[in-house]
Symmetry: C2
Subunit: 235 residues, 2 copies
């Protein structure tokens, strides 16, 4: 009998924001795969490190961390092959995923290659979106709001149109797009209701109004905008 293929969300960064289920499965796992940059440590692994067995077999998937370049599929093809061998041998395999596996996650590239051949279970995790609104100490969405999540690289006109028709907006993957996004939101007169968060839930977390944001933003940064009439402030 083949093993089970687990995609496990390890949450936004603080290891205590892993779920009980993630912690249980990672603690028991003999084979653990995770994405890793070509230099430096894996973020997903660093979140789960304390829970991992000392004798776990590790399968790092080395993907160059370049903004806006989607990773070469050969990395995932090769990792899927290795994982498939373990699954065929009857071993369960855990894949560590930053945040939630199905929320802009690279996990899908493995999932696409393995989920039809093997039993697969996805364990949802706390997303960076939830961590950023908690960090800002401000509700993300209220009542019957429309929420739109936009990737930072989206061009100005497309972004403007989508911001116009939502009450709550999250712009992900801000990174090097910060100067352009600031100018756009200033032009739309939304700076006053925009917050900026980087590295939510980590010790290095930074939270501030967008107007005070630094000139340079890391890849893991987000802008949250609330245009509604703040029903929680005027209940």
């Amino acid at each position: 009998m083949s093993g089970i293929f687990y995609g496990i969300g390890v949450g936004p960064g603080d290891p205590e924001l892993m779920t009980l289920k993630a912690h249980r499965l990672i603690s028991a796992a003999r084979i653990v795969a995770y994405p890793a940059p070509d230099s430096g440590e894996s973020f997903a692994r660093s979140i789960a490190a304390e829970a991992m067995r000392a004798d776990a077999i590790e399968i790092p998937m080395i993907v160059p961390m370049r903004v806006e370049r989607f990773p070469a599929q050969d990395v995932y093809a090769k990792a899927a092959q290795t994982i498939a061998q373990h699954l065929e041998a009857g071993e369960d395999v855990v894949v560590l995923c930053e945040g939630d596996p199905f929320f802009y996650g690279s996990f899908m590239y493995l999932f696409a290659r393995l989920s039809e051949r093997f039993r697969c279970e996805v364990v949802p995790g706390v997303s960076s979106l939830a961590a950023c609104s908690a960090a800002l100490a401000r509700p993300l969405t209220a009542r019957n709001d429309v929420l739109t999540v936009l990737p930072g690289p989206l061009e100005d006109d497309a972004m403007r149109a989508r911001i116009d028709t939502a009450q709550a907006i999250a712009i992900m993957k801000v990174g090097r797009h910060l100067p352009r996004l600031r100018a756009l939101l200033e032009e739309m007169e939304l700076t006053a209701c925009a917050g900026y968060v980087e590295r939510a839930s980590l010790a290095a977390q930074k939270v501030m109004p967008l107007a005070d944001a630094p000139a340079m933003a890391p890849y893991f940064s987000m802008i949250l905008i609330y245009k509604g009439n703040d029903p929680w402030l005027n209940p």
Copy 2:
């Protein structure tokens, strides 16, 4: 010194989808508040029940569970008063929140009344959105997709416009709007890429293509649509 006011996301339903932090704080809490319907048990409390101390002082906030009627603010005003008394006496107070506290949560009504006077900490949780995409075994969003989250009660024209400009769409609070939403999505030729989930992550969970959805949907039900070109299926 005043106590700390905690808003804690307990996740979508499966108690194992609570975070380690939620579990730690709830296990230690002497005073626990939660929303509850006027008949039947509190969903948030049922998720956290096993973690709660037997001697915890409980503050149920009884809110009539009627779709589309936002709860009478006097319930929250009264609860805020009770909670404030405990905080002033130096006791921490934990509020249990279904899913994530700031994602369409009624927690904001307490937060609005207490966060300026007391130290407040929000613990993010796994949202129903993440639980539903895990249940459907399908990525919610990929690469540079735009995701739009829509409340079921939104009228057809507004909904159509927002669906048109997103790749990934989640319709929350489906409930009694299901027949209307099905007709709308059929007209937009999106039925084939729409999934239906109710009570995600609970034993009573139901998952199916929208085309097979039952005639009646409970309040805790969701439709997920993916219009993109399925990059995870054609990597």
